[in-house]
């Protein structure tokens, strides 16, 4: 697992921090890597913008904060405008496509949108949007494998919510896989 800097951002209530925790657990407890999660922790985070940063490496992490983000998971327009300019030129942008209207792609940035909130509502609980985004990350980037991620989810949410969150993860995962497969078919990227 090479060094990867990830920013997860949205507004309070979308489960941004939990996304970071589940991602970190997936890597550092249920896979062989190291993951340090930090959060932009401020009074403004209460109900306003909310950001989690996850640094992933296969070696011990020293500098704890994200320097140049390789992957961004963006769940609000405000977050997009704030963070997108810092995204690595060959990075990856994952966004909630009904809440974020991204500008044109810069450089070699790969962009994937997902109607995660709508999917979450279809699953019966808008709160699981975050696990849809996490599944989407897994499906599009391959950064985390579904099995450790499912384990991390089971260890992070209350018992009666595990199944729903697993469904949400799967939904995002399949959707992401589908988008990538579609691109490959279209010859946009190579396997």
């Amino acid at each position: 697992m090479s060094h990867t800097d990830i920013v997860i951002s949205g507004f309070g209530g979308q489960g941004v921090i939990l996304t970071g925790i589940v991602l970190g657990k997936t890597i550092s407890i249920y896979s062989d890597g190291y993951a340090t999660m930090t959060q932009n922790f401020g009074p403004e985070a209460r109900g306003g913008a909310c950001t989690a940063q996850v640094v992933i490496d296969n070696d011990k992490i020293r500098y704890p904060y994200v320097q140049v983000p390789d992957i961004m998971i963006i769940m609000s327009q405000e977050a997009y405008e704030k963070h997108e300019p810092s995204l690595s030129p060959d990075g990856m942008l994952l966004f909630e496509e009904e809440l974020v209207e991204p500008g044109p792609a810069r450089d070699k940035i790969r962009m994937y949108g997902i109607p995660a909130t709508r999917f979450a509502e279809e699953l019966g609980n808008p709160m699981v949007l975050n696990m849809i985004m996490l599944g989407f990350l897994s499906g599009t980037s391959g950064l985390i494998e579904p099995i450790p991620a499912r384990n991390a989810i089971a260890a992070s949410v209350p018992g009666h919510f595990i199944e729903l969150n697993h469904l949400a993860f799967n939904k995002g995962y399949q959707y992401g896989k589908g988008l990538v497969a579609g691109e490959m078919l279209a010859g946009k990227i190579s396997g």
């Binding site: 970071g20 925790i21 970190g24 657990k25 550092s28 407890i29 190291y34 993951a35 340090t36 999660m37 930090t38 959060q39 922790f41 401020g42 009074p43 992490i61 020293r62 500098y63 704890p64 904060y65």
Partner: protein, 386 residues
């Protein structure tokens, strides 16, 4: 040494932030009394303790302020339980007087300070290392205590246990000087089996009450404690006192009383101080750091090493007492010390004093709100290597 009580030990691999890890450290160390007052960015420690203590036989109380919190902790420790409080800058300021009482009465206890930017309300949600001198000198009068500085959630767990051990062994308040970055950073934390956690238990006297003097020191200069309610009927006071614990306000008793409080730490420094060393053997330049800054310094040191600069890293796990002897030794062999601190120059003053002009000392300062960019530290190394 005894083994930890399994009741408080959440054995396993966890993904915890520094604050929660410190709370687990306290549970594992056998801390069973906690009094605290909410303050960002330390509150999560108190919250986790509040959640955990009713399940492990601990008593948690949220006091009316920090003055009360530290006073209750001193009372709780005299009551016979390992006791702790947690705070951040403004609350730490309020606790200063009774930290001094803890030193004077020789009360084992642990105070965690999750440092944030100051002065005053400053940056409640952002990191700093600017309470280091307050930890050393913040209470009035001459005193010595022990301050540790963890640099990861795992160390927040480990060093909280270590703090309880040191405080019981030396009968002194021990400060865990965390910072917001460490406190809110989430990483893997491995909590071992209770049988693998070694604890120092309180040394109570085995003398009869008639023969017992509460402040008569043993060989290591630490007096033995007496439990309350067992006929010792001792008196203890924040006033300058004699071996009976009675106030005795004169220059001679002051010298004896305060002198021993200082000596019990200073003469036992070799046993107390813990540092981490990297590449010191051939180093011309040594980066001296503590807490989060020690983590940030490593990429800079490694980058400079790759470029052939002979730079080593000395990381202070124990900041107070300061490793004076080691610095004096190194000062004769190296060209320069570089110290990154998230303040405008605190522990570096001690470094400079101990270097005594024999090696240059350079501060890489930062006003707080963020950690250093490793590049800044790297530049300082290159500058010093010229």
């Amino acid at each position: 040494m005894v083994q930890a009580d399994p009741v408080g030990v959440l054995t396993g691999t966890h993904y915890l932030d520094g604050d929660h890890a410190a709370a687990e450290g306290a549970c594992s160390a056998g801390c069973r009394f906690f009094a605290g007052y909410p303050i960002t960015p330390s509150t999560e420690v108190a919250e986790r303790v509040a959640l955990r203590f009713p399940l492990i036989g601990g008593t948690f109380i949220q006091m009316e302020d920090e003055l009360a919190s530290i006073a209750a902790v001193l009372g709780g420790s005299w009551g016979g339980l390992k006791s702790m409080t947690v705070t951040s800058g403004p609350g730490f300021s309020l606790m200063m007087e009774n930290i001094g009482l803890g030193v004077m009465m020789e009360v084992p206890c642990v105070v965690i300070n999750v440092q944030r930017g100051g002065p005053s309300t400053g940056l409640p949600t952002l990191p700093a290392q600017a309470d280091m001198m307050q930890a050393r000198w913040g209470s009035h009068g001459d005193y010595e205590l022990i301050a540790l500085s963890p640099n990861s959630p795992q160390e927040c767990f480990d060093l909280t246990i270590e703090s309880f051990n040191l405080s019981e062994q030396w009968r002194v308040p021990v400060l865990v000087m965390m910072d917001e970055c460490i406190g809110h950073m989430t990483e893997r934390v491995v909590i071992p089996e209770a049988g693998e956690i070694e604890l120092v238990e309180r040394r109570y006297t085995n003398l009869n009450p008639d023969d017992y003097l509460p402040y008569k020191p043993c060989e290591d200069l630490v007096p033995e404690m007496a439990p309350i309610g067992y006929g010792y009927r001792f008196h203890t006071t924040g006033l300058t006192h004699d071996e009976r614990g009675y106030p005795s306000m004169n220059a001679e008793t002051q010298q004896r009383c305060v002198g021993r409080l200082l000596d019990k730490i200073n003469l036992n420094r070799d046993e107390i101080i813990h540092v981490d060393k990297h590449y010191l053997d051939d180093a011309d330049i040594v980066v001296v750091s503590y807490g989060i800054s020690s983590r940030v310094a490593i990429p800079a040191v490694e980058k400079a090493r790759r470029e052939g600069i002979k730079v080593g890293e000395l990381r202070l796990v124990t900041v107070w007492p300061f490793p004076e002897k080691l610095i004096r030794e190194l000062a004769g062999n190296v060209k320069a010390f570089i110290m990154p601190e998230i303040n405008h120059g605190q522990v570096v003053l001690e470094l400079e004093r101990c270097a005594g002009g024999r090696a240059e000392t350079r501060l890489v300062k930062h006003a707080g709100g963020w950690v250093h960019d490793p590049e800044t530290i790297y530049e300082a190394i290159r500058e010093a290597a010229k």
